[in-house]
C-alpha cells in the first residue's frame, strides 16, 4: 500500500533542495474525481499530489514535451525532472532512454507500483456506476472504492480495470530512483495478449468487418498520436505541411510536397494512418494503453499495438522497455538471423 504522504514528502524535499527542476505527477482535476497531470515547480505545491485508480495517464509524454521546449528555447537541461511513473510508464521511459531521447541523469523516476491492481477504465466504470457520479476513488487491496452521493461503492478492481492492466506483466516500475509500493511482478489477471487472442480467434472476414467499422469511425483527431510518448517525431507522415522548408524552398516544391495521407477522414486514409503508426511503434510500445484510452470513438488501437508487440516476442523474443542497455528492436540484428539481407 502506497502512503501518499511519503510521495509528497519526497517531492517537496527534492524541490526544496533544488535537486530537480520540476515534479510531474498527478493531482485532482476540476472534473469530479479524476486525476489530471500536475506540474510542480515549488515545494509548497507537493501536497497537490494524489495517487489513486484514476491516475491513468502516462506522464512520460511530458518528459518529451520538456525536451522539445528546451530545444526550442535553446536551453540546457540543468537539473533533472522528477516524474511519477507506474510500471508501464517506467518502461516507456526506458524506451526513450534506449533511443537517447534524453539521458538517465535528466530524469528522476519516482516509481509507483500498481501492486495487485491497475488503473480504471473510465468507460467500464461508467457502466458500473450506471449514471451515478463518483467524487473519489481509492485503492483497497483487490478492490477499488468509489465515493458516490448514494454512499460508498466497492468494486472488484478487475471488473473496472483497463484491459492493458488486466494483461500487465509487471505493474512494478523496475527502472526507478525511488519507488513506492510492493513489487507484485508476475501478477496477471489475464494472459498476455488475451484481448488480441480473443480478437484473432475470429475469422478473417469477421476481423475485416470489425476493423472496417472501426477505421470508418476514426475522426482523425490524432489524440492517439498526441498522447503517445513514443510519437515524438517533429514531422509526422500524416501532417501535410510539416516538411522541411527553407528560404530556398520554392512555391512549386511546397505545392508538390508528397502527401502520403490525405486529411480526409476516409477509410483508406485512416487505415494508412493507424497502420503506419502501429508499425512505427513496433518494439517501442510498452502497452501503456493511452491511445486506446484517449480515442473518443473507441477505436481499439491497442489491438494493433499489441499485435506488433506479440510479433516481436514470437519472432525475436523481444520485450519493449525491458532494460536501458538492451537492444532496440529495429536498431539491432542477430547473427543467427535467417534473413541474409539483414546480416
Amino acid at each position: 500500500m502506497i502512503n501518499l504522504k511519503d510521495v509528497r514528502d519526497a517531492a517537496r524535499d527534492m524541490l526544496a533542495k533544488g535537486e530537480v527542476r520540476a515534479v510531474i505527477g498527478y493531482r485532482r482535476g476540476s472534473r469530479g474525481m479524476f486525476a489530471e497531470p500536475a506540474f510542480l515547480d515549488r515545494p509548497e505545491e507537493a501536497d497537490e499530489l494524489v495517487w489513486d485508480p484514476t491516475c491513468f495517464h502516462n506522464l512520460s509524454l511530458y518528459l518529451v514535451h520538456d525536451r522539445k521546449h528546451l530545444a526550442h528555447a535553446g536551453k540546457k537541461s540543468g537539473a533533472p525532472v522528477a516524474i511519477v511513473a507506474k510500471g508501464c510508464d517506467a518502461r516507456s521511459i526506458v524506451v526513450l532512454l534506449q533511443e537517447h531521447y534524453f539521458g538517465r541523469d535528466d530524469v528522476y523516476i519516482i516509481g509507483v507500483s500498481c501492486e495487485g491492481t491497475g488503473v480504471v477504465d473510465e468507460r467500464k466504470l461508467a457502466r458500473h456506476l450506471n449514471g451515478a457520479q463518483a467524487s473519489n476513488a481509492a485503492f483497497d487491496g483487490d478492490d477499488f472504492v468509489f465515493t458516490t452521493a448514494q454512499g460508498e461503492k466497492r468494486l472488484p478492481a478487475r471488473e473496472v480495470m483497463a484491459d492493458r492492466c488486466l494483461e500487465c506483466r509487471n505493474p512494478f516500475p523496475k527502472e526507478h530512483n525511488l519507488v513506492y509500493g510492493e513489487d507484485k511482478t508476475g501478477r496477471q489477471l489475464e494472459a498476455p495478449f488475451a484481448a488480441l487472442d480473443r480478437f484473432e480467434a475470429q475469422g478473417a472476414g469477421e476481423r475485416w468487418e470489425n476493423w472496417a467499422r472501426h477505421f470508418d469511425r476514426c475522426i482523425r483527431c490524432f489524440a492517439c498520436r498526441s498522447v503517445c510518448p513514443m510519437c515524438y517525431c517533429d514531422e509526422c507522415v500524416v501532417d501535410s505541411i510539416t516538411f522541411p522548408i527553407s528560404t530556398e524552398t520554392t512555391a512549386d516544391e511546397k505545392a508538390n510536397r508528397i502527401r502520403w495521407i490525405e486529411r480526409s477522414a476516409a477509410r483508406s486514409e485512416n487505415i494508412t494512418y493507424l497502420m503506419t503508426r502501429a508499425m512505427h511503434l513496433a518494439g517501442r510500445c510498452t502497452d501503456c494503453g493511452e491511445c486506446d484510452r484517449a480515442c473518443p470513438v473507441n477505436v481499439p488501437i491497442r489491438l494493433l499495438n499489441t499485435k506488433m508487440e506479440k510479433e516481436a516476442r514470437d519472432q525475436f523474443g523481444f520485450e519493449p522497455g525491458a532494460s536501458i542497455g538492451g537492444p532496440s528492436l529495429v536498431a539491432s540484428f542477430l547473427d543467427k538471423d535467417p534473413g541474409e539481407f539483414i546480416r
Partner: protein, 344 residues
C-alpha cells in the same frame, strides 16, 4: 402546434416520414451516434458522442472536381451536395443551440452554398433533458436551458409513457403533419405535467461558468495572462475538444489528386482544428501560435470573447463534451472561471 405522442407510436411517426432520411441516436461499439433509423427508435441516449453538426457541415465536403489534359486548360466541375432531406431525432437542446451559431458563421459576409444546401434540408427534432445527460453539462450558465427550443424545429419532452411534442418552426409543423394520425391533443394534465417536467429540468444542479456576461471583457483583459500557459501545460494538442464541439467550424481546403495523366482530382474541405500545432503554421515555418497556451486561449477566446464581440452571444452552448472527452483534464469551465477571476 402541441401534441401528445404515445411512446408506442414513435416508430409510426418515424415510418411516416417517407420523404426524409430519419436519423436517431443508436449505440455502436459503445458510442452513441446519429444513424439512419433501421428498426425501433429508442430515445434513451445520454447525449451523442458527436453533435449533429455533420448534417450541415460534414467532416469532408467536395467543392469541385478538376481535370487537366496536358497542354489544355483545366476543367472544373462544381459538386453541390446531394444530401437527402434529414429528420434528426433526439437532438439535445444544447446541440440545437449550436445550429443558429453555425448558421451565422456560414452566412456572415459570405453565404456558404455547401453549408446552406445541406442545412435547408435538415429538420432537428429535439429531446428535452429531464436530467442533465452529463456531469459536465453547463447549458444554463451560457444562456441555454435543458428545455431550450433555440435552433430546433420540434421539441419533445419525455412524460413517462408518452412524449409532449411541440412544433417550433414551420419545418417542425410539416414533420408533424406527415403523421397527423399518430398524435393526439394534449389534455390539461399533459400541459401541467410538461410545465412541471421543464421546471424540474431547469432546477437540476449543473456546473457553471461564473458571470458569463463578464467573460468577454475579462478574457479580453487577460490576453497576455500567464495563466494560459499554466492551464494548457497538460494539453497534448489533439483535436478532440474541437472535433466534438457543436459550434467549432474551422476547416482546411486541399486538392486530392487521384490521377496524373490526365491530372484529376477533387478540391475538398475537411474539418481543421485550432489545437493542432500546424493550424497556424506559416509556410516559412514560423508559427504565431507556438505553444499550447496560445492555442487554448484561441479556443476559449473564440467561444467566450471573439464570437460574442461579433454576434452578441457566446459561441459555447455548454454541452460539456470538450471537458468529458479531454484525455488530460482540460476543463473549459475551470479555464474561463480561473482566467476571469484573475483578470486585471
Amino acid at each position: 402546434m402541441e401534441k401528445i405522442l404515445d411512446k408506442k407510436r414513435l416508430d409510426d411517426w418515424a415510418a411516416a416520414l417517407t420523404n426524409y432520411e430519419v436519423q436517431a441516436p443508436s449505440q455502436e461499439d459503445g458510442i452513441w451516434g446519429f444513424q439512419p433509423v433501421n428498426g425501433p427508435v429508442r430515445l434513451d441516449h445520454t447525449n451523442t458522442k458527436q453533435p449533429p453538426k455533420e448534417f450541415a457541415f460534414p467532416q469532408r465536403e467536395v467543392f469541385f472536381t478538376f481535370e487537366q489534359i496536358k497542354g489544355e486548360a483545366p476543367r472544373l466541375t462544381q459538386v453541390l451536395p446531394q444530401a437527402p432531406r434529414h429528420a434528426v431525432f433526439g437532438v439535445r437542446p444544447c446541440d440545437g443551440r449550436g445550429v443558429p451559431r453555425m448558421d451565422k458563421v456560414f452566412n456572415d459576409h459570405v453565404e456558404d452554398t455547401y453549408y446552406n444546401t445541406r442545412r435547408k434540408n435538415v429538420a432537428y427534432v429535439g429531446l428535452a433533458c429531464n436530467k442533465p445527460p452529463s456531469a459536465n453539462c453547463f447549458c444554463l450558465s451560457v444562456g441555454g436551458s435543458p428545455v431550450s427550443t433555440d435552433g430546433l424545429d420540434v421539441l419533445m419532452t419525455d412524460l413517462g409513457d408518452r412524449y409532449f411534442v411541440a412544433a417550433v418552426t414551420d419545418a417542425g409543423k410539416a414533420l408533424m403533419a406527415e403523421a397527423a394520425k399518430v398524435f393526439s391533443e394534449p389534455s390539461a394534465t399533459d400541459q401541467k405535467q410538461v410545465k412541471q417536467a421543464h421546471a424540474a429540468a431547469v432546477a437540476h444542479p449543473q456546473r457553471a461558468v461564473n458571470n458569463p456576461d463578464q467573460a468577454p471583457a475579462k478574457l479580453k483583459a487577460s490576453f497576455k495572462s500567464p495563466l494560459w500557459d499554466e492551464l494548457a501545460r497538460a494539453c497534448i494538442g489533439c483535436g478532440i475538444c474541437t472535433f466534438l464541439c457543436p459550434t467549432c467550424h474551422c476547416f482546411d481546403i486541399n486538392d486530392e489528386v487521384h490521377g496524373k495523366a490526365p491530372l484529376k482530382g477533387q478540391r475538398v474541405r475537411t474539418w481543421d482544428n485550432c489545437q493542432f500545432p500546424d493550424f497556424t503554421m506559416h509556410s516559412s515555418g514560423h508559427n504565431p501560435r507556438e505553444g499550447t497556451g496560445a492555442r487554448l486561449r484561441q479556443r476559449v477566446g473564440h467561444k467566450f470573447q471573439y464570437f460574442y464581440e461579433n454576434f452578441g452571444m457566446h459561441q459555447c452552448v455548454g454541452c460539456g463534451r470538450c471537458i468529458t472527452e479531454c484525455p488530460v483534464g482540460i476543463d473549459i469551465i475551470n479555464v474561463v472561471n480561473k482566467v476571469a477571476e484573475n483578470a486585471a
